[in-house]
């Protein structure tokens, strides 16, 4: 039997298993918006651990991580540096967000913010920012899945077909089971990712160089510039310390502000589970170590690769590996792509309905769930269109969106900890910060120092938020108290989704 047929069979088996897990996941969930969007707030520790880890580490990490290590060397270590730093604040903020969300019936980030800073305009603004940031991210995941399938089947299954099959399955289980499917499939996919990354990360250096130490000694001899911080740029020039440091800072600030990660706070069974998830997140973060080892293994083995992100598939196909290993690699890469993609699609549709539509239109539970399902299909279709289109600069869009997503951090912190923050202050800060980030992105020559544009946005954002808040009337103390010092409350029973204050009358 031909090699590509065997590998394709393994991919089909893996996708079948994922579909089965995804469909079974929704059986115990209520038929409510709370059930579809927040899993009846019933995720336990195991699921939360894998949801957080597998959602954070996407196809970008599984394919892009080795690509960065291969082409930019030590620059990739910024990805190692920001994860724990970004998660630590969530230990404090996450449980508080979950408690408030439970009390006020919130299921999205914008609902959380507009519960304190009541404004339908703010809700719409956050929805637009979120969707604009999420669509390119979904596209990247779809493209990653398509590329992997195309590569390992030697072109027999083209990118468009591979992406369509993988995300067709994602679409089915997300539509049927909602966030419960995301949770349980992420658990399966997270296990695959970790096992395969460590297996390949330890195997390839031994297969090609005789060990990890000998590999780095060889690189030190022939390409020493790759291993010195802060590494290289994409063009092969030395990266600046300002760029490296600001990449860590903006990534740490923005990490838990991504809607698909922030919203998972509303899915946890209790606050203790969120804390434990944060505590154990560093063990998932270490998954990057073998990923980078794979990239470094290619440095002296592959002379030049036009697209560095392909280094992992290239090594897999050109090192004489057993077919079972190649098949498992496919499962790992698809896991990385699909585990993030499903959460992104689900979050995009949920945000669009809950934050973009519901504040302006009265919808009952059935209509909300129906609209979310329709928009999941629409989000998938839009992302698929971009994924199969050539010439669309997705990385550019994604990098820009990170700078904008980080602008959601000051409002969240202000909502939870600053009594004097006001709605006009938050809107002004968000608008000023986002505009500044966009300005410096499109006109990089205007930057006084080569920092990430998102940091410039935050530098403008925070003073504007403070100043405008102090100049405007303070909020109702009861509203403030509900956020700054939320009382402990018994869990809400499944199916008792409460409308938020932003719902249209």
């Amino acid at each position: 039997m031909e090699r590509w047929v065997v590998i394709s069979s393994m991919i089909v088996a893996y996708l079948g298993l994922t579909l089965w897990v995804g469909l079974r996941a929704g059986r115990g969930t209520s038929s409510t918006v709370d059930g579809f969007v927040a899993g009846d707030r019933n995720f336990g520790f195991l699921v939360m651990y894998f949801v957080t880890g597998a959602t954070v580490f996407s196809a970008f990490a599984f394919l892009g991580g080795p690509g960065w290590a291969y082409s930019r060397g030590a620059a990739a270590f910024y990805i190692l540096s920001y994860g724990v730093l970004g998660m630590f604040p969530w230990y404090v903020i996450g449980p508080k967000v979950a408690r408030i969300g439970r009390q006020l019936g919130q299921v999205t980030q914008a609902q959380f913010l507009t519960g304190r800073f009541e404004s339908r305009g703010l809700s719409l603004l956050i929805a637009l920012i979120s969707i604009a940031a999420l669509i390119p991210y979904i596209t990247l995941q779809m493209r990653g899945a398509g590329i992997v399938i195309e590569a390992v089947t030697e072109g027999k299954v083209p990118l468009w077909a591979g992406a369509a099959v993988a995300y067709g399955i994602v679409l089915i289980y997300v539509l049927v089971s909602g966030v419960s499917a995301v949770g349980w499939t992420n658990t399966l996919q997270g296990v695959f990712m970790i096992v395969i990354a460590w297996t390949l990360g330890l195997y390839l250096p031994y297969a090609l160089y005789g060990g990890i130490g000998p590999m780095f000694e060889a690189i030190l001899t022939q390409r020493p510039e790759l291993l010195d911080l802060p590494g290289l740029t994409a063009a092969g020039e030395p990266w600046s310390w300002a760029g490296y440091t600001s990449a860590i800072l903006i990534s740490a600030v923005g990490l838990t502000m991504w809607p698909h990660i922030f919203m998972k706070a509303f899915t946890a069974r209790d606050e203790r589970i969120i804390r434990r998830t944060v505590v154990w997140f560093p063990t998932f973060q270490l998954f990057l170590v073998p990923v980078f080892l794979i990239g470094f293994a290619g440095v002296l083995f592959v002379d030049t690769l036009e697209r560095p992100d392909f280094i992992l598939p290239y090594l897999i196909l050109n090192v004489d590996l057993p077919m079972i290993v190649v098949g498992l690699f496919c499962a790992g890469a698809l896991s990385a792509s699909m585990s993030t993609g499903d959460a992104l699609m689900h979050a995009t549709a949920s945000v669009a309905v809950e934050d973009g539509v519901r504040p302006f239109a009265r919808l009952n539970e059935y209509q909300q769930r129906l609209l979310i399902r329709v928009l999941i299909v629409v989000a998938g279709a839009v992302a698929y269109f971009f994924a199969v289109s050539e010439g669309v600069s997705l990385v550019v869009l994604l990098l820009t969106s990170y700078g904008i997503i980080a602008q959601l951090a000051p409002p969240v912190v202000a909502a939870l900890f600053w009594r004097r923050a006001t709605t006009p202050g938050v809107i002004a800060g968000l608008a000023a910060g986002s505009a500044t980030a966009l300005l410096f992105f499109f006109a990089p020559d205007l930057r006084p120092i080569p920092l990430h544009e998102g940091l410039f946005g935050l530098i403008v954002h925070v003073p504007v938020l403070i100043l405008v808040s102090l100049l405007t009337r303070a909020q109702d103390p009861a509203t403030v108290e509900a956020y700054v010092n939320p009382p402990a409350s018994p869990p809400v029973k499944p199916g008792t989704h409460q409308p938020t204050s932003t719902t249209a009358p």
Binding site: S81, L85, F216, D228, L229, E271, R272, R275, P282, P491
Partner: protein, 183 residues
């Protein structure tokens, strides 16, 4: 005020078979053997954090306050002079007599040396150090690939070490948050 058991008294009670409270001469509430204490801690640990009550005075302390009518903040020997309840007083209040008749302080080390606010401050300090360590200018000290650490370049081993340090710090922080109840 109920007197604390002296070391001599504790030794003299070791070989008797009378009920523990009777042996120690302390109120029943103040006497709690190890299995009971372990069971109680397990029960607290498994209770949801959302419905856990605020940490309260220990049973023994509450009983003693009720018996003497003293204000809890002014009951310890050190606080008698200062008017403020010290951590040592708190540790003394939680004193227990074990099944073997030994006097022990189950929470003393945590209460005296490491209270939750102190651990929180340490955690914030560690993560600020982490931030400084992996960014400019401190990271420039560890920019070089050499020496190799466990086969990895120093520039890679440095951020990995901080992941491990951060993990350990989170484990310690979580231990104290869980033990002392919800903030």
């Amino acid at each position: 005020m109920t007197s604390k058991p002296s070391a001599t008294a504790v030794v003299s009670h070791r070989k008797t078979r009378a009920p523990l409270a009777e042996r120690s001469g302390l109120p029943q509430q103040m006497v709690e053997d190890r299995p009971q204490a372990a069971h109680r801690r397990r029960a607290v640990k498994h209770r949801s954090s959302t419905d856990r009550p605020k940490p309260a005075k220990s049973d023994a302390f509450a009983a003693r306050s009720a018996a003497t009518g003293q204000d809890s903040a002014k009951s310890g020997p050190l606080s008698a002079a200062t008017g403020v309840k010290s951590r040592i007083d708190v540790a003394l209040d939680t004193a227990r007599i074990s099944r073997k008749g030994r006097l022990y302080f189950p929470y003393a080390s945590q209460r005296i040396l490491l209270s939750r606010p102190i651990v929180r401050r340490i955690a914030v300090a560690v993560f600020l150090l982490n931030l400084l360590a992996v960014t400019w200018p401190v990271a420039t000290v560890f920019r070089s690939a050499e020496p190799l650490v466990f086969g990895l370049p120093m520039s890679m081993a440095w951020p990995i070490a901080w992941i491990v340090i951060g993990w350990v710090m989170l484990l310690v922080l979580d231990h104290f948050e869980e033990r002392d109840g919800e903030s």
